[in-house]
């Protein structure tokens, strides 16, 4: 089959490309990566007393909000994986010897290496700090959309909190939509998933840590993603509606729509994009079909769906036209 042949050609081209990249990466003469530049800088010394050194200044009223870290999962002394089970503040902020050391009168205090005002470490290196512990998240992070766009972990996550807002269903969308402004507008449309009501999080569908799937979806395909909650649509049905098996988004706009059921447009036009069969399916409906004229069930209320209500598929032996 022609498509099969093309597939193998693409696969062949892909293997060559992959081999080129792998070969170059493993054996090729390439320059130091940008991210590596600040790795070469010598590290300052650590403080002598750890967090006690930090809190001698940052334990005041002005820094009170930072203390929320001790209510959260990062401030657990008995968990060796957390900052306070190890290098304390300097586990994330880097060695603070210079910052906490003495400075001459008029001399600017050196910044902490990471996660602070004027910190010299690059965003990539700061992310490495997080990923050093959260290694599971690194699985798809490299090469993912958010990593490619140089997002910092702290662009989304808050550490000095009792509960990170991005991990709570009701507050997460606000974090995501700080950047995804088009999606924010979409979720405010009249019909949508309950995102703006705090009943659904973006991560119910998306994997923000660089998922490999289309649109960084949580499941490998769009339909699998939808079937997580809408398993009644999965079938397989005796009489399937072919576009449904391919892609739910052929008819639905998952972020929000001006049409009921998140449809991309209203029936009958929605259906007439694909159906022009002899008889009633092909007839263009007009204002004549409104209650002010000759009200028609081909237009009003459910339109096509008033009869063909099993549009996602039917398991009825006589349901070939999706009306049983």
């Amino acid at each position: 089959m022609a498509n099969c042949r093309r597939f193998f050609e693409f696969a062949f081209a892909g293997v060559i490309l992959l081999a080129g990249v792998v070969g170059l990466a493993m054996f090729g003469p390439v320059g130091a990566a940008e991210e590596g530049e600040d790795d070469a800088e010598p590290l300052p010394a650590y403080t002598s007393d750890g967090a006690d050194s930090c809190l001698s200044c940052h334990g005041d009223e002005e820094s009170a909000h930072l203390m929320a870290i001790f209510e959260g999962p990062h401030g657990v002394e008995a968990d060796e994986r957390t900052p306070f089970g190890g290098n304390q503040c300097e586990a994330c902020h880097g060695p603070g010897g210079d910052h906490a050391g003495r400075v001459r009168f008029g001399q600017e205090r050196p910044p902490m290496p990471a996660f602070g005002p004027n910190s010299p470490w690059s965003q990539a290196r700061e992310n490495e700090t997080c990923l050093g512990c959260h290694r599971e998240q690194q699985h798809d992070w490299d090469g993912g959309v958010h990593e490619s766009q140089k997002l910092a972990c702290t662009d989304c996550h808050s550490v000095h909190t009792r509960r990170d807002p991005v991990t709570v269903t009701s507050s997460q969308p606000q974090v995501c939509m700080d950047c995804h402004v088009e999606q924010r507008a979409e979720v405010h449309r009249a019909y949508g998933h309950p995102i703006r009501f705090g009943e659904m999080a973006c991560t119910d569908c998306h994997e923000p840590h660089g998922g490999l799937n289309e649109a960084m979806l949580d499941s490998p395909t769009i339909n699998q993603n939808c079937f997580q909650c809408h398993a009644e649509m999965r079938g397989p049905f005796l009489w399937e509606h072919a576009p449904v098996t391919e892609d739910c988004t052929t008819c639905h706009q998952p972020h929000g729509s001006n049409n009921p059921d998140l449809l991309t447009r209203r029936a009958p036009l929605l259906c007439q994009q694909c159906h022009s069969r002899m008889g009633h399916p092909s007839i263009g409906r007009t204002g004549d079909d409104l209650p002010s004229g000759q009200p028609s069930n081909f237009l009003m209320s459910g339109s096509c769906l008033s009869c063909h209500s099993q549009v996602h598929g039917s398991n009825h032996p006589s349901g070939a036209i999706l009306n049983r």
Partner: protein, 715 residues
């Protein structure tokens, strides 16, 4: 374009791309002395044996807060209560909880809940030992409230058996149903999801990771479903008694540079109802007095997935997953008809024995080829192989006529996608990204068996002046197919091109500019334009156009006071072409949707006096939808579809004592909607449709709540 031309174009592009990569390989850079070993030589870290952290306010014991109070809803408005659970006028209980109990050896118990007094409640309990294991139990309810002013004649509305009133008078049209007005009674269209989840995760100081998630969702209530008998339909409140069980179990092995995970996923769907039976309120033909709609059949899906990643160095990172899955469905078939006056055809077998196998592979390689150049290759494969046995079924159309048999059509497809992306940092303030994607799809039993889509994009990210970041992305998509019009069938317009596989060109341009007006004020502007044309389409969706613009402003006045505002406009236009008859009588429909969204928010982390926090959020969203159909003769235009939602939410909290706060909340929502498809459609408005008679949506609701917050402090 012929297949050979496409093939040749592909070859040219592939060769050019390979050449480009090979050129990249020849770019000489510094000898990569920094390799794996160097990366591994991490600092050994300080001696922390003397770091006692005596000033650290570790939190042991019980901490957090409980909110308890009451609220009042000013009016009944079903749609306002949708997803919120605030649909009824009157008093409701308002409660929330955020408690954590922690011991010095990292054991903990966490309790978190929101909206506990409402039907939209959520509650989570998690316990365990941090760094070793965790067990969590989650419960969540989500109400879906569609409409409350609907009326039906059916006894048993919302159940699997819906009958006509004893004194019902059938008619050929609704105006002949003389008992209609006296038989109507109200039925709310609503359902609710209740989800219970149990998760266990073992995360000890070992490379092995284990997790099990079990989730069960019950969805109960009803929804609107049409039941029809030959151009006569009745809207039914169809029962919803669904249960979905999901299980995910995984074991992983995580090392510094690579990790593997094997996971099993089960999704099982159970339905308490096999069908909905309803008596025909219209005068049936050929004795068609009783109909039966199949309910979604019980089914299950199993999938095994192996995923992994390998980070050889910063210069090579690989990740991917492969999965095999199977969907099965073997619910017993319903009878072909309930019409006893017709010969009930025999079935070739008692159930579908449905089986669909899926195979998935997603692989990605990323490499920082030089300090300026990064390449990414991604390959995706997705196959749906429908292995359900094929039989033919005699059709009893609408329980009225016995027609010819129809053969089962086992739809299958195979989807592949390959993407190559190059990022090049021209200068510290200028980065360009070029991307090329080829998508191929092969499907069975449709007039288009193969589609090939090529997508190219070019993106510039620049910082032309200090504090200004600009992103511009242009993309073009081209889709070709191997349409065989003969497969459309004898009664279908031969010019029809179904849009989801029709030949298509799509151009898009996106522009985003972020500007820091001052140190504490930032603005972001975006604009996006997209045009798509279905070049070969004479019947069907022929073109589409999208425009969107937006402006965001955020400001930080102090560490405790922040504000944000946004406004966005979007317009979507499309043209659909049709013909009343296959030979002639063309018509053209234009649909235009315009959306407007705006919002303002203020957050106060600390207020003067004993006020400890405050919040104000205003959101406005409205949309107009115009449908214009041009065809022979003149017809009155369609009214505009309009929706408008305005929400203002405010809250403030005041300290009453050392542990006690008082919280005030206010929410006002104003909703209006003009929907000519449903407005003014009473049960008898349409002669051939016995509708549920939804009414226009319009209303304003105020919600007040007062709660006491008691704070638990571990000290």
């Amino acid at each position: 374009m012929t297949a050979s031309q496409r093939h040749r174009r592909f070859q040219v592009r592939a060769v050019a791309f390979i050449g480009f990569l090979l050129m990249g390989m020849s770019v000489s850079g510094q000898d990569r002395a920094t390799s794996q070993e160097e990366e591994e030589s991490e600092s050994t870290g300080p001696d922390t044996s003397e770091w006692i952290c005596e000033d650290c306010p570790f939190v042991y014991g019980l901490s957090g807060s409980v909110l308890l109070g009451a609220g009042y809803v000013s009016d009944d408005l079903f749609d306002f209560g949708n997803y919120r659970g605030l649909e009824q006028e009157g008093v409701y209980g308002a409660a929330g909880v955020d408690l954590r109990y922690r011991t010095e050896d990292a054991r903990y118990l966490d309790l978190y809940g929101e909206r506990l007094g409402l039907d939209s409640r959520t509650l989570s309990v998690e316990g365990g030992r941090q760094g070793s294991y965790s067990v969590s139990l989650d419960y969540d309810e989500t109400p879906y409230l569609d409409t409350s002013d609907t009326r039906t004649i059916f006894e048993g509305a919302g159940t699997a058996n819906q009958t006509l009133p004893a004194d019902w008078v059938r008619g050929g049209t609704t105006d002949e149903m003389t008992a209609l007005a006296g038989s109507l009674h109200g039925v709310d269209i609503r359902h609710k999801r209740k989800t219970l989840g149990l998760a266990l995760e073992v995360n000890r100081k070992s490379p092995w990771r284990y997790r099990v998630d079990v989730q069960q969702t019950r969805k109960e209530g009803n929804l609107i479903r049409g039941g029809s008998f030959i151009f006569r339909a009745a809207e039914l409140a169809s029962p919803v008694d669904y249960e979905t069980t999901r299980v995910e179990a995984a074991v992983g092995y995580v090392r510094d540079r690579w990790q593997l995970e094997a996971a099993y996923h089960l999704s099982r769907f159970d339905n308490d109802n096999r069908s909905v039976r309803w008596q025909n309120p219209f005068a049936g033909i050929n004795g068609a007095d009783l109909g039966e709609l199949a309910q979604p059949p019980e089914n299950q899906f199993h999938q095994f997935m192996l995923s992994g990643s390998w980070r050889y160095s910063k210069w090579l990172m690989l990740s991917g997953h492969v999965a095999v899955g199977r969907s099965e469905q073997d619910e017993q078939f319903l009878a072909p008809t309930l019409n006893t006056s017709l010969a009930n055809p025999s079935l070739p077998r008692s159930d579908l024995d449905g089986r669909v196998d899926t195979q998935i592979a997603n692989l990605r390689a990323t490499s920082n080829l030089t300090d300026r150049l990064r390449a990414k290759l991604q390959f995706r494969y997705d196959e749906r192989d429908n292995k359900t046995p094929v039989d033919s079924f005699v059709q009893v159309v609408s329980d009225t006529f016995v027609m010819d048999e129809r053969a089962y059509e086992p739809y299958s497809y195979e989807r592949t996608s390959m993407n190559a992306t190059l990022d090049y940092r021209v200068a510290s303030d200028l980065k360009v990204t070029a991307s090329a994607t080829h998508k191929g799809m092969e499907r069975s039993l449709q007039e288009v068996e193969n589609t090939d889509t090529n997508l190219y994009s070019f993106k510039i990210r620049a910082t032309p002046v200090s504090r200004l970041n600009v992103n511009v992305k242009a993309s073009r998509e081209e889709r070709n197919n191997d349409l065989d019009p003969a497969r459309l069938g004898p009664q279908v317009n031969p010019s029809l091109r179904r849009f989801h596989f029709a030949e298509k060109d799509r151009d898009a341009l996106r522009f985003v500019a972020d500007y820091a007006l001052r140190e504490n004020v930032a603005a972001s502007l975006f604009a996006e334009f997209a045009d798509e044309e279905f070049s070969d389409t004479e019947i069907g969706l022929s073109d589409g156009r999208a425009r969107s613009y937006g402006l965001d402003v955020s400001a930080t006045f102090s560490s405790d006071i922040t504000a944000h505002a946004f406004v966005a406009f979007e317009s979507l236009d499309a043209t659909i072409l049709g013909a009343d008859n296959i030979e002639d009588a063309p018509w053209e429909a234009r649909q235009s949707d315009d959306f407007r969204t705006a919002g303002i928010g203020l957050n106060f982390g600390d207020l003067p006096g004993k006020w400890v926090e405050g919040r104000l959020d205003f959101t406005y969203a409205s949309a107009d939808g115009d449908i214009e159909v041009q065809k022979r003769g003149s017809a009155p235009p369609f009214p505009t579809l309009e929706t408008s939602r305005m929400t203002l939410e405010a809250s403030a909290e005041r300290e009453l004592g050392e542990r006690l706060n008082l919280r005030f909340g206010y929410l006002v929502g104003k909703l209006t909607e003009d929907d000519f498809f449903r407005d003014d459609v009473a049960p008898d408005t349409v002669p051939t449709l016995l509708s549920l008679g939804q009414r226009p949506l319009d209303g304003t609701v105020h919600v007040f709540n007062v709660m006491l917050r008691y704070r638990f402090s571990a000290d």
